[in-house]
Every structure is written in structure tokens, then in C-alpha cells.
Symmetry: C2
Subunit: 234 residues, 2 copies
Amino acid sequence: MLKYQQIANQIEQFIEENQLQQGEKLPILENLMNQYNASKSTIVKALDLLEKKGIIFQVRGSGTFVRRKDRKGYISLLSNQGFKKDLDQFEITTKVMDLQVVKPTKEVAENLNILSDQDVYHVKRIRYIHGQTLCVEESYYNKEIVTYLNKEIVTESIFHYIQEGLGLKVGFSDMYMQMGKLNDEEARLLGLIAGEPKMSAETIFFLSSGKPFDFSKITYNYQQAQFFIQGTNM
Amino acid sequence: MLKYQQIANQIEQFIEENQLQQGEKLPILENLMNQYNASKSTIVKALDLLEKKGIIFQVRGSGTFVRRKDRKGYISLLSNQGFKKDLDQFEITTKVMDLQVVKPTKEVAENLNILSDQDVYHVKRIRYIHGQTLCVEESYYNKEIVTYLNKEIVTESIFHYIQEGLGLKVGFSDMYMQMGKLNDEEARLLGLIAGEPKMSAETIFFLSSGKPFDFSKITYNYQQAQFFIQGTNM
DNA sequence: AATTATAATTATACCGTTATAATTTGTCAA
DNA sequence: TTGACAAATTATAACGGTATAATTATAATT
């Protein structure tokens, strides 16, 4: 791992271990340079990373302070690791409804930027939290990129497999959210009643090369899903 | 304005003017250095800023490419400028329901990190898009920081006033979203029916010094509100 | 034509320096 | 005690350099 990432992790760990609270001050740059035996710019990079993650904030002329004050149980929408990470303290289970290779619809082909005769994996899953339905997820993977999937992989973390198993690098994602009312099918799968609220999200995931490889539609159980978004001024 | 910000703006403008599409390549670093007469690190900083904004992405060994492929009409949740910016092509109007100085409830005091005997401005507004209700917003401002508000300011952009009028610097925000069903009061204000879906968000806005100055609760009209979230790998 | 090895391109990591701007602290006067 | 001013502290801006790693292009080999 890179030096500045390591340092960022160590600083994050330091905050955890010492239970530093919102607003508490971290050592100044010069001290961090000595502490971690790195140049100024490397420390600055580590701190910038932590700031991007929403863990600290920096004030010119004053210092670097702890930001994080998470409410637990919220799904963070900033990084795109799936919610395994946010909800890791909870019991998340998965039921696979469908897994097969198909030809994409026009919508899927457009979002994955492929031709309609190219193969895609279609994966439909229901996710549970503490046995309650959390969401229904319908995903399409470009088979040229995600060359192989099986039920076992799909029951566990697909993203973990994509990164570790296939050695692909996930780069960024575009997510579009909207609200509406559940239809019969959705209500049945979520164990809710048609006409009740739904939150649905379409997300396109890109490799770090910029190629889209996953187009997903998720319908959330409005009783379970809570989101957390950290904003910054730019 | 800072040099790297200026360059970032110029590059963004360049993308707009030349209608560069998703995936198109920008000039390489060295060329940008010459073009904008800046050092490598300054260009890198400008590009990092644009990457943070979701306008470009960079691929090591390959180049810098255009990312943005916005669907129009979505409210971006990444930066915290309010939605004036995202929906500026639309006609947004505001109706002020209440504006007064009050003592905070326990919840408000906690979120603004103040004592319960300190004053806060209470602002309640309904926002319309094309004459349709977009959301009901109930905000509390720490009066020690936001020392003065009047109906005119509150009808226009409060954030613009805070930054330009009061010279305060907005730093970051924490937003917590969840879904539910509208109660009678909310339904009445939004022109909807009780029991219909709602999306509600609590947001705490901080100055760049880290002090919270605004605690807002927004209830969105599920028919109008659509959100856009750009994720990155960290 | 396909594969493999090599070279060129290109962004990123990491180092270090000087200057600058925001904030905080200290000092002195009223 | 308050206010104004000066000094110290601290992060940030901007410069520039070398080394490295990922990608792409080219050449060599089969």
C-alpha cells in the first residue's frame, strides 16, 4: 500500500483508539511529519484523503480536527463499496432470485455502453437485514469485463470478487435516486403492501479506466433504508 | 481567486465550450502546464478539484478524461450549495411560512451544539418548482453566528446571504435521509395526501471552522425530488 | 495473425522549499 | 475589562524535481 494511504489509516486508527471526539485536534503537520517519518506533502495527502472520507476537517491557521460523528445504521452514499461496510455490525443476508447470461435491453445496453448483442449477466437478489427485507436489487454486468459469476459469488460480495478475484479496479459510480409507490411485484418481494413508499436507485459503476461494468436498479424497503451523505464546499 | 481554482474553472469551461463528451481526453499534464503557465503541482491540484466535482477522471499511464454525463433535473447531493445551482434552469419559488427568533428544542440545541437558552432563528419555508411543491423546509440558525435574517433574505437564498452578506465561510454538511409516509400536516403543505410517500432529510451545516450554524429538516414531495450522487473509490 | 517482449507515454508518489493567508495568542493601551 | 495591534502558530498555495507504476504503442518473435 502507498505511504500516504498507510499514514491515513494509522491516523484513522489513532482517532479510533483514543476515542477522539468531534472537534478534537490532531497533532500539527510538523509533528505528524516526524511521527510518521514522511515529508510535508505526503502528510498533506494523507490528511486530504481523510478529509475526503469525512473523518477530519482542516482549518487554515488553526489545525486539523476530528469530524466524524456517525449515526449508526445509516448507509453512506459517498464511497461505493456497497453497504456491507456501513452495516457490517448488522446481519446482512442475501437470497438469489436469478442468475443467468442474457442479452441486454436497450436501457441496459445504453447504460453499460455496449451493443445489444453482447452478453450480460443478469443478477436479481433480495437483501435482508436482521431477517427483514432491505432491498431488491437487479444488476447487469458486462460479461466482457465480469467474465464469470456463479451462485456462490453472487450470494457473497460481488464487488469483493470483482476486485480480488478478477483483479479489476473499481473507480467511480453515478447514482440516480427517486421515490414512488411500490407496485404489486415489488411489494411482494419486499413483504410490503402495494402503494406504500419506495425509494429506487439506478447506479452505474465504472472501472477506474472509465468503462461501465455494472448497471443496477435497487428498490429499498422504506422502513429499513437510511442514508448518510457528507457534503463539502468546492 | 486561487490559481488552481481559476485553472479548474477554465478547464471546465473548455469542456463546456467544446462540448467534450464522456470519455474524451483532455490535454496531457505537460501541455496543460504550458497552456495555463503553471507548475505541475498546480495543474494536478486543479485536476484533483475537477475530479472531486465529478467532472473528470484520471487514469494513470493513460490520461485525463471527461466524466460528466448528467441527467437533468436531479439534485446533486455532493456539494452543499442548496439546489439553486442544480435546478437553476427551472423556476424555483419560495413561500415563507414562519420567521422568528426562538429558544431551541433539545434536539435543535444538540445538533447546533448550543445551550437551550441561546437564541436561534426559526425559518419555515415551502419551495416550489414550476409552481409545484418541491419541499417543506424547517431550519434553525444559531443566532450568534447568523446574527440577522429578514423576510427578504429568507425569500431569496439564505446561503448566498450568509456567505456574501455576513462573510461567513460554509465548510461541510452532514445529511441523514430516510423515508416514510406523510402525516396530515405535511400532506397539506405539500398538496398531497396523508399516507403517501415522503422523503425526509436532516442536515447539519458547518462553517469551515467546524461550528454548526444551521440545522434543517426537509420533507420532499416524492413526485418532484430526484437526487444524483457521484461516488468514488477511496 | 497472434503472442510476447520492449519502449514510450503519462499520471502519480514522494521529496523538499519558499511564500502566503487564516487563526490564535500575547501585549499593550485605554 | 475591553479593544486594538503585533507576533506566533499553522495550514495552504505554488514552485519544481526525481522516481515509480500503469497504460499504450511499437517491435520482435513465433
